[in-house]
Amino acid sequence: MPHSFSLPPLDIVEHTLANGLRVVLNHDGAAPVVSVAVYYNVGSRNEREDRTGFAHLFEHMMFQGSENVPKAGHFQFIMKAGGTMNGTTSSERTNYYETLPADQLPLALWLESDRMRSLAVTQENLDNQRDAVKEEKRLRYDNQPYGQIFDLINEMIYKNFANSHSTIGSMDHLDAASVEDCQEFFRIYYAPNNAVIVLSGSFDADEALKLVETYFGDIPSQPLPPELDVTEPTEVASTYREWQDPLAPFPAFLIGWKIPPRRTPEFYALYLAGKILYEGDSCRLYQKLVKGDESVIQLFGFTDERRGPSSIFVGAIPKPGEDLSKIRETIMNEIHDLATHGPSPAEMEKIENQFVNDSVRQRQSSMARAQAIAEYALYDGDPKLINTELERILAVTADDIRMAVAHYLNTENRALLDVVPAGQG
């Protein structure tokens, strides 16, 4: 049974360099592989109102070369060493990561330190990557049916600009950006004291720490970035918007609620409530809507986990001709039921087992470990939370879930986005 289930703790060693760079080592010799994750404490939430999309543009810029690494050389060095890599941007952070054969650890540290120290922020690179970002926006948002609905509903849920605007940002703002803007952004946010580096996999801890010190130790620290205010009024209030989607083949809707920050007891309770409502074939809404009423083609839901106010979503693509308001009523009735009676013992057993299973699976991969550890290190200042947080989540009771659902979901304080197909054809 999961309650008695205990996992051996991950080996975590912490160290902070003199320049403020926080280093976390997680040795695990299961495979001759090492993952390196560098997390910068900058996301779309840090952007100015007239420079949205900057955090993400920078993720692109970081692959455009630095003092000793040619343009696009980062990809090539990693790939020719037999590694994989990427970078992503969210509201909370920008991350860069690579997994390599373990003997190539120095290469990863050389590449990551060279761009932290000396990124080539030039006009040519800026122009080129603006184009790539525009193409990415067309591909992932503009040319996809329903591609823009999450950005739209965030604007409805959040009142604070830091939270409400999209990560992809405004193309006009990117066009208006100068090289000087970019250099300033780099200096402020890509400083060693604004980052965390995590190594996970096969290495000798002393040797690895020495290498990190060698490559990163003399990168100068910078004054801390400006203070950030992500506070929100608690309620969303009932908001409604109709969105004409030229590519959507069917109507659809998305409901969003504002909820407390990650790692609060309420967030965990709502995260688990989400699993009961919309995850897996035995979840309540799948059984009601896809199976019982047969009114829905696709049902989806998830939580958007943030350091500040976070959110939870439920959406559906109904079958043609179905009454959307009736489907929403079914969803709200289930939420009402959960708020009144709470989850059943069987549902509690299910979400606990699922959570344990997912947590064990996540530990297999050096990259998954490195990323999870990096989040705890960057957001909470404590990478060892990876070893204790499971217990906190398993400690959430049925009554905690009932109360959190009653307070945050069973309410008119929600955003509703209706998608109306507006194509030519």
Binding site: D114, G280, S282, A346, N357, R363, Q364
Partner: protein, 457 residues
């Protein structure tokens, strides 16, 4: 560290050896092959029961039958209704699912290893005793018909449909999905008969990876699979994919499209083709990754796209080669120009020693990363087993990659990259792109998003 020392990439540390042990292989009395890879690292287990019967084995009058049968395995059995089964599995925090691909039908299950024996029960239940309830099939038919409509809003689906038609002709690999009419006429009796005929132990392999003991597993299987009887193997006689002469252009007119989805396809190789490793390395040089030529040219140099790649898809009986990118409308023609430049160059010039060394070190280096998780290791074993690859395939993989020569790469390109006989498919706004692209092919045809050819204007 001094600036001087930072100038060049550092040398690697001492290498750490990596080997994949051989799994155990047994055959049960009913002919089921059982491959077990014991791995106690974490308390997890993965099961994959694969049958050598896939969508291409659909009876001619019942396209979509194998996929329907596969998905309905978990929608009701003698012991459980669909909901009871889902609750039972999810209550263990586990998962079980079935699906069909072109060549195979696969039932996958995974759980914490403390629930392994429950999972074997459930695996046996869905494979041996599905009941295909009428109301579940009814729901499947209706939902699938809606999904088929939905797929037509997705450019990658529209492109794949046209490319497969050109490359595979009357071979069943040409069918990327059944039609609504074919789905609507599926009956419960069709599924029952197809299940009895195709899910037979002597046409299957069970691959188990994780914290489990072979001996205990085998004795449980003998017990729980009792009464599962052999049957006759399906035929693998199919039409040959056509030989193509000349270059065709197919535009799928998607009015208002913000981008053009480009696919340039030609016939490729089947998985057991002796050219597999030369093609693998050639494709790595040409377009498989973010440091390959196509990406460096069309994304990094020209900025036409978010990503441009080439892909080799090798199935059991045939395969294809594809170059793909999603580009903005006004550079659709210019992107074709760059694609064809690269497709010609890999055929006409030897790849440099550096390019080849880079491609090889990527392919050999990522191999242990792929084996890092149980799921990854399971996938490697499944491929080795299902494609009849040699027993020491995983052990020899890196040596086989390293043995490929520059001559073999160029020969592989000349044989298997065929720009002159390519099928170009573009999903986009015909009004905006036709003028840019029409001169790149010998013939031009225009389809609508419903898959109907438009009359010539």
């Amino acid at each position: 560290m001094t600036p001087e020392l930072r100038k060049n990439p550092p040398a690697p540390l001492a290498p750490i050896a990596f080997d994949i042990a051989q799994p155990s292989q047994d055959v049960l009395e009913n002919g089921l092959r059982v491959v077990v890879f014991e791995n106690e690292r974490l308390p997890l287990v993965n099961f994959r029961l694969a049958f050598f019967a896939g969508d291409i084995h659909d009876p001619a009058e019942h396209h979509g039958l194998t996929s329907a049968m596969a998905t309905q395995l978990t929608e009701g059995t003698q012991a459980y209704t669909s909901l009871q089964l889902a609750e039972k599995v999810e209550r263990l925090g586990a998962s079980i699912s079935a699906h069909a691909s072109y060549d195979f039908t696969t039932v996958s299950a995974s759980s914490l290893s403390l629930y392994a024996s429950e999972m074997i029960d459930l695996l046996a239940e869905v494979v041996l005793r599905p009941t295909f309830p009428e109301e579940e099939l009814d729901l499947y038919r209706r939902n699938t018909v809606e999904s088929l409509k939905f797929q037509r809003s997705q450019p990658p689906f529209l492109a794949a449909e046209q490319a497969a038609r050109h490359i595979y002709g009357t071979h069943p690999y040409a069918r990327v999905s059944p039609t609504a009419a074919e789905i609507e006429k599926l009956t419960r009796e069709d599924l029952v008969r197809h299940h009895r005929r195709t899910l037979i132990p002597n046409n299957a392999i069970l691959i188990v990876v994780g914290d489990i003991k072979r001996d205990e597993l085998l004795s449980q299987l003998n017990d729980k699979l009792e009464g599962w009887e052999q049957g006759s193997l399906p035929s693998n006689e199919f039409d040959t994919p056509p030989t193509r002469y000349g270059r065709t252009l197919t535009i799928v007119d998607r009015a208002g499209s913000a981008q053009s989805n480009i696919v340039i396809a030609n016939a490729g190789i089947k998985r057991l083709d002796p050219d597999f490793f030369p093609v693998l390395v050639m494709n790595q040089v040409l377009g498989a990754g973010a440091s390959s030529r196509v990406f460096m040219n069309i994304r990094e140099d020209k900025g036409y796209t978010y990503g441009a790649y080439t892909r080799v898809d090798s199935k059991r009986l045939a395969g294809d080669f594809e170059a793909t990118a999603e580009v903005r409308n006004e550079v659709t023609g210019a992107s074709l120009k760059e694609f064809f430049y690269e497709l010609e160059r890999i055929r006409n010039e030897r790849a440099t020693d550096e390019e080849i060394a880079d491609a090889k070190s990527f392919l050999t280096g990522v191999f242990p990363i792929r084996a890092e998780t149980q799921e990854g290791l399971t996938n490697l074993l499944v491929n080795q087993q299902l494609y009849d690859l040699p027993e020491d395939y995983l052990q020899q993989y890196r040596a086989n990659v390293n043995a490929v020569t520059a001559e073999q790469i160029q020969e592989a390109a000349q044989k298997h990259v065929q720009p002159d006989n390519a099928a170009i498919v573009i999903v986009g706004d015909a009004g905006e792109i036709t003028e840019q692209v029409k001169d790149y092919a010998d013939t031009v045809e225009v389809f609508d998003t419903e898959g109907r050819q438009k009359p010539e204007r």
